[in-house]
């Protein structure tokens, strides 16, 4: 059984629909079935919705845990995966997947793999591909134990289209887990505009901005274009941008139509986060910056000169 796992919700997110694509490919090649597992406050809604993606069987575990700890989610995912007899568990490589994948594998006696960007079946063996060395290489990997608990990088697979259908849903009682870990304070993230991972336009800045002030210009451009602001690891380390803006191997994976890379040199670990972008626009004063190697359009100019002109040009276009 190939199990797509997540936190549920009223809709299947784009990341979840990408998992459907992976699951279908595997199920077809291995001759197995696809099931859906949701653990969260709206588990049953999502489990019913899974039927519309041709998924016949689902388990919903309504978990309302106020602690904010991940352990209750992991333990209930493990219960659900056991109930479904999972041979493969697929999770999005998002905030939950990063912390739950390996631990879920350990609890199920399986093998873990993170950030899958491709999968194929050869002679009955499942071969997973994942970026390594900050995206400078791809590794083809086989896992030894079952289940394989795999997190899948967003943007690597097409999202499945919704059809019609009903899933048979088992609703299970959540297992209570107390870990003495409590979230006591949540800082609100960015309020306005789309989420970085879902934005059609992303305007990102790096060390070349020279300070936090440059991000105000980027925010202005992003707002005009209905996009989100991102940052490189270097800019986050400098304290110019909050960590939740970080794009790259260890930040957000983005897949916009246009990715503006402003003052970003293009370290591989950053490029790993933007491989899903349709087009990269590089703005950098150094013509040898590696970012130009992956850019569709490039401008060699100091951003302080170009950005105000670009904002004016966009305003004129939109007027």
């Amino acid at each position: 059984m190939i199990v797509i796992a997540g936190r549920g919700g009223q809709e299947l997110s784009r990341a979840q629909r990408e998992l459907v694509t992976v699951a279908r490919r595997l199920a077809g090649d291995l001759g197995s079935q696809v099931a859906y597992l949701a653990v969260g406050p709206e588990a049953e809604a999502a489990a019913r919705r899974a039927g519309a993606f041709g998924i016949g069987r689902a388990v919903a575990i309504e978990l309302n845990d106020a602690s904010g700890a991940v352990e209750p989610i992991i333990e209930n995912l493990a219960q659900g995966a056991r109930r479904l007899g999972a041979s493969v568990v697929l999770l999005a490589a998002d905030h939950l997947g990063v912390q739950a994948g390996p631990r879920l594998a350990a609890r199920l006696g399986g093998s873990a793999l993170n950030d899958a960007v491709d999968v194929r079946v050869e002679d009955g063996r499942v071969i997973w591909t994942r970026p390594v060395f900050g995206g400078k290489a791809l590794a083809d990997v086989v896992l030894r134990r079952s289940p394989a608990v795999v997190t899948v990088r967003s943007g690597a697979f097409e999202a499945a289209e919704e059809g019609a259908g009903e899933a048979a849903v088992d609703v299970l009682e959540a297992v209570a887990v107390d870990t003495a870990v409590r979230v006591v304070q949540r800082e609100e993230g960015r309020q306005e505009g789309p989420r970085l991972e879902e934005a059609r336009v992303v305007v990102s800045g790096g060390r070349g901005l020279g300070g936090p002030e440059g991000f105000q210009r980027l925010a202005e451009l992003a707002e005009l274009l209905g996009g989100a602001v991102g940052a490189s690891l270097a800019a986050v380390d400098e304290g110019w941008a909050p960590p939740e803006w970080q794009v790259g191997q260890t930040g957000k994976m983005v897949a916009p139509d246009v990715y503006f890379a402003v003052g970003i040199s293009g370290a591989s670990q950053h490029l790993a986060g933007i491989s899903g972008a349709k087009a990269v626009v590089a703005i950098n004063k150094n013509p040898d910056a590696p970012i130009f190697k992956v850019a569709r359009l490039g401008v060699v100019m100091e951003y302080e000169k170009l950005l105000p002109a670009l904002i004016e040009a966009v305003k004129r276009e939109l007027a």
Binding site: G68, A112, A137, A139, T179, P243, P308
Partner: protein, 268 residues
């Protein structure tokens, strides 16, 4: 009594090596030797800084650093001693090549147990070479301790750890009691400090505790059996390079051309 903090570190191929210089060796399974030097991994640097800040604040009594690697990793252990970690442990895994995260986690968990009295394990979110992102989490499972991930800062307040971490939509503060494992991500306040010259000198004379997997009760067969997977091969991804440069000295003109091209390409 302050905490005994164990920091799990890894020496990695310098992540700053440009993509153009990256090559694969004859086995097809690992990077070619000599394409770059080795450095203390980027997230392990952040992890070490988080531990040292606990010590500065009087919350940690002792900071131990542990790595599972060959003798070459003594260099990174000495770097940790130079910023005033108290103890350095090398589990010498020479002869057990290409350990995977499941194997590494078992070795490190046993080393934490052998050290004894560890209250807090601090690991980087992922090593800067293979980017597995598994070891800290698997050590937590193996020890049976809870794990708080993507931590940026830690403070101890009356026996309770207050951890600032990256939540799904912004920062969160989490309270937890030891024993605990945390994985660390980068933040402007956990950039690793520089060593003082006298500490750098002193670190060269400090002893490194050396254990073998056998000292931890793991023989070669047991270790081999722990592997979770196998790398069949590495390959270098193809990158398109067809950048269309928009040239000119007049920002307004360049900006107008850029917007026009974006529209023509149906990107805006």
């Amino acid at each position: 009594m302050g905490l005994h903090v164990a920091v799990l570190i890894k020496q990695v191929l310098d992540p700053e090596v440009p993509a153009a210089r990256f090559q694969i060796d004859a086995s097809g399974k690992r990077p070619a030797a000599g394409i770059a030097g080795e450095v203390l991994g980027p997230y392990e640097r952040n992890a070490l800084e988080v531990a040292l800040q606990l010590k500065d604040a009087g919350a940690a009594e002792k900071v131990s650093v542990i790595t599972a690697d060959g003798q070459e990793a003594v260099e990174s252990l000495r770097k940790a001693l130079a910023v005033r970690a108290d103890q350095a442990v090398l589990v010498d895994t020479s002869g057990h090549d290409d350990l995977d995260p499941a194997q590494t986690a078992e070795i490190l968990a046993r080393a934490v147990e052998k050290l004894g009295g560890v209250d807090l394990v601090v690991a980087g979110r992922q090593a800067g070479d293979w980017d597995h992102g598994q070891v800290g989490y698997l050590v937590a499972e193996r020890l049976g301790w809870p794990c708080v991930s993507l931590v940026q800062r830690a403070e101890l307040d009356g026996g309770v750890l207050r951890l600032t971490r990256q939540g799904p939509d912004g920062r969160e503060v989490v309270e937890a009691r030891p024993p605990l494992v945390v994985t660390v991500t980068n933040d402007e306040r956990n950039v690793l400090r520089l060593p003082r010259v006298q500490d750098l000198m002193a670190s060269r004379r400090q002893p490194i505790t050396q254990w073998s997997p056998a000292d931890l009760g793991l023989d070669a067969a047991a270790l081999a059996d722990l592997a979770g997977g196998e790398v069949l091969r590495l390959r270098i991804p193809e990158r398109e390079s067809q950048c269309e440069f928009i040239s000119g000295d007049d920002p307004a003109e360049v900006a107008a051309t850029l917007v026009r091209r974006l529209k023509e390409l149906k990107l805006l």
